[in-house]
Amino acid sequence: MFAYAIRRLIQFIPTMLGISLILFLLLNVLPGNAALMAGGSQDRDIDPQYVERMKKEWGLDKPIYIRYFIYLKDLVRGDLGLSFLRREPVNKLIAARFWPTLKLAIAAMLIAVTLGIPLGFFSALRQGTWLDTFSMIGAVSGVSVPQFWLGLLLMFFFSVKVHLLPTSGYGDGSIKNLILPAITLGVGYMALIARTTRAAVVEIHTTDYIRTARSKGLSELLVNWKHVLRNTMILVLTTVGLQFGALMGSTVIVEKLFSWPGIGSLLVDSIFQRDIPVTQGCILLVILVFLVVNLSVDLLYGIIDPRIKYE
């Protein structure tokens, strides 16, 4: 397994290089540039001399292939460049925003897993009952409800009506600022995990080894706890892992709504301002996280299920 892990890690390199090239080309053919955008969306007296000077300083007057080689040379050394507009190293900007996004993603996934797995599990055990029906209606609603709308609703109830939680902001980093954004983000994934868990449990209940376990005289509790749950986890784990990777890249709406200082909001702002180094850095980070999470899920899969062998 160790060799497999090393091989997969090595495969990251060409993947990241390929993505960096596609990303670079896409971002550099987009119309508009950061110097023009420096004044914001309403034209506020941009100095044309400043625009030309900035284009030179940021290397935007060089041919695209030269710009890519300079970028690649820095990328190999781990240097993501300087933000055009903030004039700060991109590494530093991203580092400051990474923990809030990770914290939000972990909290959202904890909510999703803690509520979603039991919900799905018990719905499957009580198929056709009111618990099953309402859980699945809830699951469909959770997946369908727009995050923006849900977030505003939660804000209105918990902040305006009952004055229990702050509306937005990171505050001092305490948990009370995290609750509403985490719920808003986690609800959709909770619904997905509940449905996946339910489907897995229903399928496993029809397998031969579960029938064998019952015929050996094991109690239903023991059958579910020792056999059904463990085998369900294999399937659910894959979903959770993949969802976590996707979640890290989909925090934008929640971050913007709750003024949460994460990678998502940094990425969106940089796209609109054509701050190319920041955009590239954020996207590369999200992709790297996705690759690492995928690899972790694959390795964990092998640990949980001894039948899996990596070559």
């Binding site: 969306s41 925003r97 977030g151 509306t167 902001g169 609109f272």
Partner: protein, 534 residues
């Protein structure tokens, strides 16, 4: 007689109490304010930033030689108590305030102003605000690397500064810009790039912390030069770009004031409490559809005038924008010192529009494409609203929605037929109109490539005129020429609206940008939930 005297005395006492209660400011407390424009701040080094989002925070940390007075609607001296101007209008001698201190405790002197302006013009810093210091003699030479410093800055003594200009212009409009703020050299050099996230100034508030993407916290600077000010102990700027989230935070009393968007405006107007605590101002932004005169129909003045007569802009303002805009006359807004009260706007008159089109040879109409963004106040939604009006006179409009950066590039390259946008139209009316001068290229703001010799001459005369009142009269005429030529469809002047809770006092209608609130004289009453918060 005695009874009357006593009654009179009691009456005067009550009157005195009532009046004193209405303006007795209270020291202390925290104001939760907002930074509502898009995402996070980019930086708090005023010489390097260009964004409103950064400046609305910076303006309470920093000070300039001049500041904008929202009551007078013009720049006034701030770091100086008086100025003498030479007969030729080129030499300005400032007597600086002697009690100005930076947040590190050091007194501000003429050396600091000289250092700050030199820093702005330094090629190493490449400040976007160099254009405002370029008015000083020798500034351009320094910017081009031909001089080590700006020769037009002379220190007479620690508190007397002489500035020699390149030309006899009014420096107040340039040197009130926050990008020309006076900074302490030792702090900038010590912190280097770190100054942008840990600034020091001589303004009423000191920087405390910036939680990236979330909030900026400032605290009272006890050494501020105005005795007893600022009133507030702390200001927290909450970075909130979403109007709906701001609305909820305001209702939850987490924000003491909020900028009101088009969606909230009619709701707030109907609220019995909030409606009593709103300030409105016609901001210096003119919303328009610009006509590219390279596109043949738009080369004809009668066509452009016809479009102005054909569209019922007041109806669009009322129904689409819910009244959150000011009906325009010409390019300069009602708050501009050169706004002509007697000028006649284009009124809705489809018959006149048809007649003008016929005279222009376009009786059968024509088609044009208009580019715009998704902005609700000056985007493609507004263009859609003009379609039925223009259809009545035979003009068909096609819409192309674009993203802001892409549209800006298209407009500046002249690669469009018409655009809808919002452009700054103040505070200096000469600068505002100079955008449209024929020698100003598209890339510098003359997006419709406007070219009118009479207009150009009037601007040159205004630039040469030293008497302010006469200058304004000339500019009114220039604005009138622009109105008659109709190179744009005059849509509206932005109506900026701010709502605040009843415990907040001292916010003002600031025409240059409502969010540019100088919090020096803002205070919160005892009924604020943060009245005693530090």
């Amino acid at each position: 007689m005695k009874k009357t005297g006593i009654l009179l005395l009691v009456g005067v006492l009550f009157l005195g109490l009532a009046v004193s209660n209405s303006w007795a400011a209270r020291s202390g407390g925290t104001l939760n304010f907002m930074a509502p424009y898009g995402g996070d701040l980019y930086g708090l080094d005023p010489h390097k930033s260009t964004r409103v989002q950064d400046f609305l925070v910076s303006m309470n940390i920093q000070r300039c030689l001049y500041r904008w007075d929202p009551d007078l609607s013009k720049p006034v001296l701030d770091l100086a108590t008086s100025v003498d101007v030479s007969a030729d209008g080129l030499v300005y001698t400032y007597q600086l305030r002697k009690n100005v201190k930076f947040h590190n405790g050091r007194a501000m002197t003429a050396d600091d102003i000289i250092w700050s302006y030199n820093r702005i013009m330094s090629p190493k810093v490449a400040s976007p605000y160099a254009r405002y210091v370029r008015i000083i003699k020798g500034a351009q030479a320094m910017e081009q690397g031909k001089a080590a410093s700006v020769s037009g800055l002379q220190k007479k003594d620690d508190y007397t500064l002489e500035i020699t200009l390149e030309a006899p212009v009014n420096p107040s409009y340039s040197l009130r810009r926050l990008g020309t703020a006076i900074l302490p050299k030792e702090e900038v050099e010590k912190k280097g790039d770190g100054f942008t996230t840990d600034p020091v100034g001589c303004g009423p508030f000191q920087f405390v912390k910036w939680v990236k993407g979330s909030e900026v916290v400032l605290k009272k600077f006890p050494g501020y030069y105005e005795a007893g000010r600022p009133y507030l102990d702390k200001v927290v700027y909450k970075i909130m770009g979403e109007g709906a989230a701001r609305d909820i935070a305001f209702r939850a009393k987490e924000l003491d004031a909020t900028i009101v968007g088009a969606a909230q405006y009619p709701v707030y107007q109907r609220d019995p409490v909030i409606s009593k605590n709103m300030i409105e101002v016609a901001e210096m932004f003119t919303r328009q559809i610009g006509f590219n005169q390279d596109y043949k129909p738009f080369a004809n003045k009668k066509v452009r005038q016809a479009i102005n007569y054909a569209i019922n802009k007041d109806l669009i303002i009322e129904k689409l924008l819910k009244g959150k805009a000011v009906s325009p006359v010409s390019f300069l807004p009602t708050t501009s010192p050169a706004f002509n009260k007697n000028a006649k706007p284009y009124t809705y008159n489809p018959e006149k529009a048809k007649a003008l089109l016929k005279e222009a040879g376009y009786e059968g109409g024509f088609t044009y494409e208009c580019i715009g963004t998704a902005n609700k106040s000056w985007g493609v939604g507004v263009v859609e609203a003009t379609i039925p009006f223009l259809k009545k006179i035979g003009i068909t409009v096609k819409i192309q929605q674009m993203e802001g950066a892409a549209m800006a590039e298209k407009i500046k390259s002249g690669n469009y037929q018409a655009y809808i946008w919002s452009l700054g139209s103040g505070p200096d009316p000469l600068q505002a109109l100079r955008r449209w001068k024929s020698d100003n290229p598209r890339t510098a703001g003359n997006y419709v490539a406007y070219n009118n010799a009479e207009f150009d001459k009037l601007l040159e005369d205004a630039a040469d005129e030293r008497d302010d009142a006469k200058k304004m009269e000339i500019l009114k005429k220039a604005d009138g020429v622009f109105l008659d030529d109709a190179p744009i469809w005059f849509f509206n002047y932005n109506k900026a609206v701010m709502a605040y809770h009843p415990w907040v006092h001292g916010l003002k209608p600031v025409a240059i940008e409502m969010m540019y609130q100088d919090l020096t004289s803002v205070w919160v009453g005892d009924d604020s939930p943060r009245a005693t918060a530090k």
